[in-house]
């Protein structure tokens, strides 16, 4: 089994706000991330797939195909977007790094050919990242 990781970057804005909480609770729980006008990050996405090496091509996965799927399913939807307003998953769910990693997993998992999705890692900043392995 070989694991292959492909990186991508996207920039987006978001805010953390739960309408079920009072304004005071939102401020206390989410701090500065609750600023109603939003704020942004340069996200780094790392997608890791696993599989056996194809004896003819020597590939675990066709990188070109992986790159196209990542562009189509993730970057086209999230790059230079306000996540809360423009990405369907986040209309009713807070776009925390945890939820972004889960949403990206769900966008990719059925679209990959041959290789199996192993991990989605999303860096919100170089000092903060979330890994999602598809665990329920």
């Amino acid at each position: 089994m070989v694991y292959l990781t492909r990186k991508a970057e996207f920039s987006a804005s978001h805010l953390y706000h739960n309408p079920a909480f009072t304004a005071e609770e939102n401020r206390r729980i989410f701090g500065r991330c609750n600023n109603p006008h939003g704020h942004g990050h340069n996200y780094t996405l790392e997608v890791t797939v696993k599989g056996e090496v194809d004896p003819r091509s020597g590939f675990v996965v066709d990188l070109k195909q992986l790159k196209e799927v990542m562009h189509r399913e993730v970057l086209d939807a999230m790059d230079h977007r306000f996540l809360n307003k423009e990405v369907p998953e986040f209309l009713h769910q807070i776009p925390t790094t945890e939820n972004i990693a889960i949403a990206i997993w769900q966008r990719l998992v059925t679209k990959l050919e041959r290789a199996q999705l192993y991990r989605v890692r999303v860096y919100e900043t170089p000092d903060l990242f979330v890994d999602f392995y598809g665990e329920p």
Binding site: N18, F21, I94, E98, N99, I102, D127, F129, D131, P136
Partner: protein
């Protein structure tokens, strides 16, 4: 859904690698430049990974503010700008980065209960790092 959250923190400290159970010659052979009697320092990076179910209400594994304030008060305040050899936990063990990594893991295991501790990874320099999973 279960996710893993990782956070990196920086601190600087000095240490000397020297074991009382070895002769001077053995210490020099084992630890090389790290055995310099006056000590030396590093910029350490701690990478902490915790896991848990993503809370439906907050979208979080745990509140980052809780993790940051725990690490700040229990780890960074304890080790930042210190000579590790002078601390009680290193009175009878050598402050290698392996041992320091285990100490930080145990501090978290004892005191941080807002999420499950997966691992502590400690970078001594950009070229070497150590990881402890309990």
């Amino acid at each position: 859904m279960k996710a893993h959250l990782s956070r990196r923190y920086l601190f600087s400290a000095s240490h000397r690698l020297h074991s009382e159970t070895m002769t001077d010659e053995e210490n020099k052979r084992t630890y090389g430049k790290c055995n310099n009697p006056y000590g030396h320092g590093h910029n350490y990076v701690i990478e902490v990974t915790v896991s848990g179910h993503v809370d439906q209400q907050t979208g979080m594994v745990c509140n980052l503010t809780d993790l940051d304030s725990f690490i700040e008060s229990e780890v960074l305040a304890r080790y930042g700008h210190e000579n590790l050899n002078t601390l009680p936990e290193f009175a009878s063990q050598v402050p290698t980065t392996e041992n320091l990594c285990i100490q930080i893991y145990e501090i978290m295991q004892r005191g941080f209960h807002q999420a499950h501790l997966e691992r502590v990874r400690l970078e001594e320099t950009m070229m070497n790092s150590f990881e402890y999973r309990g």
